[in-house]
Amino acid sequence: MSLWEYANPVKFLALSARVQPFAWGAAALGIAVGLVWGFFATPDDFRQGSTIKIIYIHVPSAWIAINAWIMMLVASLIWLVRRHHVSALAAKAAAPIGLVMTVIGLLTGAIWGQPMWGTWWAWDPRLTSFLILFLFYLGYIALWEAVEDPDTAADLTSVLCLVGSVFALMSRYAVLFWSQGLHQGASLSLDKEENISDVFWVPLVISIAGFTLLFLALVLYRTGTEIALRRSRALSVRLDRNT
């Protein structure tokens, strides 16, 4: 019994079918509880008023946007080292989710920024690095679309993901050098004395957990779709050959 057993698509799909109902259910529960609690059961911030409530979408989507890329990086490495197709397809499946989460993070940030900072957009390091992350997602997805042979596509996108990760990280610290920050610092860290108040913290963490489970469920679902697509293509090739 090892983790690599699930590199077999049949075993992966069986496990995925068992996990998915729980993942969907828990995700729906977490997001519903987190958002309803956050929107209706927390007090307004004394300076930001009710605009603080966007935090329950903004922070979880940004969390997924970054961690989806990290998951793609791990999946790409597994594909390059052990050549498990499920891994490559999972990376492919995660990319559009990460892209959408990046856009949600940027949009909710802009909506919050307009009343609070007086501007939709500022060239702040965090905002800028998120925009760069968005570009990396675009390039990654475009490369998947452009290469016809699926294995070559998986290879090339994996290499791009690896190199892109290094450059994305460099960009993250380069923009710190280049511009002054407007975005607030981290306020959820485990190792800091001063974080945001527990009143906001608890629903936020529930919402983050809900978004993470949603990501898990979506990746499992989309990977299953990719596997089915790959199989149907293989079948149609075989049919063509026989007729």
Binding site: L138, G139, V163, A168, V175
Partner: protein
């Protein structure tokens, strides 16, 4: 390796247009900027370092699709891949040839275009140094991008989409060094970081480019 370098240089020189095209593009872009933002010399001198860096970057990008595509079509890359010379070294040489034919002329031309954009006198030295340190990174990153997209039909636009985000750190540090130099601030820190990116790219990216190329021509 030297033979390969000389071959690439000769091809670039004699194939017509390849050598001067990037330079001409750089010149035209610089000439167009005052038309688009207006001829006020104060404004131009404050944006000059950034414009020159952006122009050099785009001129580099423009010549990338010739870097490997022709060799891919006529089978030279297959020969290189099976040659005793490691593919990594071959690609490093190709990056070097691209830098000599594109990056170096841009570095040499930049001060003259700086005059057009009213670059402050203190800025010229820093501009040239920052371009000299930064353009090798642009060429190597470009070689990686070209290796990644060489097998794709009409991959030119896709390559821009892939390569431009990778250019971000180089552009930030390079333009920042040139800008700080131009207004008399200390420009050494961004220059060191820029040199670090260039050295890192030269050391590591040939391996990534060769890996990508092997996947395409396998």
């Amino acid at each position: 390796m030297i033979a390969l370098l000389l071959r690439d240089l000769k091809l670039a020189l004699r194939a017509g247009g390849g050598f001067g095209l990037g330079l001409a593009f750089f010149l035209i872009l610089t000439v167009l900027v005052p038309f688009s933002v207006g001829p006020q010399s104060a404004l131009l001198s404050s944006i000059a370092p950034g414009i020159l860096w952006l122009g050099a970057l785009l001129a580099c990008l423009l010549s990338l699709d010739r870097l490997l595509a022709l060799d891919f079509e006529d089978g030279t890359l297959d020969v290189l891949a099976t040659a005793p010379l490691p593919l990594e070294a071959a690609l490093a040489v190709k990056g070097l040839a691209h830098w000599i034919t594109t990056g170096l002329p841009l570095v040499l031309a930049a001060p003259f275009l700086g005059v057009l954009l009213n670059l402050p006198p203190e800025g010229f030295g820093w501009l040239v140094i920052s371009l000299l340190l930064g353009t090798p990174a642009l060429s190597m990153i470009g070689t990686f991008g070209a290796a990644l997209t060489v097998g794709i039909k009409r991959g030119g636009l896709l390559m821009s989409l892939l390569v431009l985000p990778l250019y971000v750190p180089t552009l930030i540090f390079g333009a920042e060094a040139a800008r700080r130099g131009a207004i008399g601030m200390d420009a050494e820190t961004p220059l060191f970081l820029l040199a670090g990116i260039s050295l890192g790219s030269i050391a590591l990216l040939p391996f990534a480019a060769a890996a990508a190329l092997r996947m395409t021509i396998r």
